[in-house]
């Protein structure tokens, strides 16, 4: 790694409020990439799947990941609060 390589800030702040947050990924067609399309709020996986299915019509795949299972590392130049 060179001196000017990006440094990364680990983000571990919670994102679920009244209940759990689920990151949603969809693949619009079989040749396309899996794309992050936001997150939905639901206590259980089935509720998250139902919401994602209502928001994203006809994808070939929907993936759901509980927010707390995601480890995020962002270039600290783009991490809010790090410039102060």
């Amino acid at each position: 790694m060179t001196d000017d390589a990006n440094t990364f800030e680990e983000g571990d702040q919670p994102r679920g409020r009244a209940s759990r947050e689920w990151e949603v990924f969809v693949r619009a067609d079989i040749d396309g990439p899996l794309t992050h399309v936001g997150s939905v709020t639901a206590e259980e996986r089935d509720g998250a799947r139902e919401q994602a299915g209502a928001l994203f019509e006809d994808p070939v795949a929907i993936w759901l990941c509980p927010d707390e299972a995601v480890f995020r590392y962002t270039d600290d130049a783009h991490t809010p609060g790090e410039s102060a």
Binding site: Q13, P14, V26, S39, V40, L55, P80
Partner: protein, 384 residues
């Protein structure tokens, strides 16, 4: 937002003032902390600061991004935003960045000292929730004395010379109190009243919804009380928010009460205002930094400002929901594009449709206008 008093006044064209630009208004819930539990609003997290609230430094970077993006108005909401310790600093920072700031509060924590500090920080306006006369308001906000405390708070803000808007959310419990609230508070010097329809993205909040006939009566009351107040020399300003079916109704009201010429100007103004702005002119950021399409659509987030700046999230039309909302005429139910009032409504609330039916593109359950009123020739499309 439908500026009823301006529309029904002598210069309806003035009602078109206000920005439709993308992200013109951003609501930021600065804290999840609450001191009262409102029966129809579920954004609060409890009495103390919530887990994961944006820090002061994160909030300042957010404000810098909003200002650079061209946001005009930052509405600071909660929870109860006055419970956030650095609120004055954030307002001061936003003011320096060129943003107008509006505080959305239940009013109970506003003292004269607090109001003076907010004024010094540059606060542009305070919006205080008053949801009925004393007992009704106390019941809705779950605390005896909440109404009196809110009125004391309003007086404190007035003493600090900060403009006040009273926000009255119409539910099945309080619609009958509207005129008396306006009369009472107009005597106290309040000049601006917002009547908000219930917005929600969860089924259980629908229990508080008023039926279509009651909604029509409520909107007519707002129009009537506006004209009545003006005839009596009270220059109150009235607004309707939360249901763009009201645009069609207000236009019909203008035709009945003011004649075709003035109604034509009202129609032009309503079309310029342009209807529902979710995903476009209004955006929402919760206390953990999740970006939402509009303030009462909290169960879906486009992304989080801890990962990407708000400006990048709001401009990213690779998101299918954002893209469709901005191209909604292709997706709204058949009834809507054929409606005489589509250009002043744009299909109403998508999150209410989603909560009520499970279908994002179903009819807004609060559209109370009949097929005949909207000029629908073919009854076969009205089922949508």
């Amino acid at each position: 937002m439908i500026p009823v008093s301006t529309l029904l006044g002598d210069d309806a064209d003035a009602a078109t003032v206000g920005s439709r630009q993308r992200g013109a208004t951003v609501v930021w819930h600065v804290t999840g902390a609450t001191n009262l539990e409102c029966s129809y609003r579920r954004i609060g997290a409890g009495p103390g600061p919530a887990d994961g609230e944006l820090t002061t430094a994160e909030g300042q970077d957010l404000i810098d991004d909003l200002a650079a993006y061209g946001v005009d108005v930052l509405r600071l909401a909660g929870g109860e935003p006055l419970l956030r310790d650095d609120l004055d600093d954030l307002i001061d920072y936003a003011t320096d960045a060129g943003l107008e700031t509006v505080l959305e509060t239940n009013g109970t924590l506003l003292t004269e000292d607090r109001a003076a500090a907010l004024e010094s920080a540059g606060l542009t306006e305070v919006a205080v929730a008053v949801d009925g006369l004393d007992e009704r308001h106390d019941e809705i906000w779950g605390q005896e004395g909440a109404f009196d405390d809110a009125l004391d708070g309003i007086a404190a803000v007035q003493a600090a010379d900060v403009p006040v808007t009273v926000r009255f959310t119409i539910t099945d419990e309080n619609a009958g109190d509207m005129e008396e609230v306006v009369d009472l508070l107009a005597l106290e010097g309040v000049a601006r009243f917002e009547f908000a329809h219930l917005e929600y993205d969860e089924e259980d909040v629908m229990d508080f919804e008023v039926d279509h006939e009651a909604q029509r009566r409520a909107v007519r009351r707002v129009c009537d009380l506006t004209l009545d107040a003006h005839e009596r020399g009270h220059e109150v300003e009235t607004l309707l928010t939360g249901n763009y079916a009201d645009a069609g109704y207000v236009y019909q009201y203008a035709r009945e009460e003011l004649g075709e010429d003035r109604a034509a100007a009202v129609r032009d103004a309503l079309e310029a205002i342009g209807g529902d702005a979710a995903g476009e002119a209004i955006a929402d950021i919760d206390y953990q930094g999740n970006v939402h399409l509009t303030p009462d659509w909290q169960r879906y987030s486009l992304g989080n400002v801890r990962d990407r700046p708000f400006s990048a999230i709001w401009e990213d039309e690779s998101n299918p929901v954002l893209r469709k909302l901005r191209d909604r005429e292709e997706h709204v139910p058949d009834r809507c594009p054929n409606c005489d009032y589509y250009s002043m409504c744009r299909g109403g609330s998508r999150h209410r449709a989603l909560a009520a039916t499970g279908d994002l593109w179903a009819r807004d359950p609060q559209c109370y206008l009949t097929d005949e009123e909207i000029g629908l020739d073919d009854p076969s499309v009205s089922a949508d």
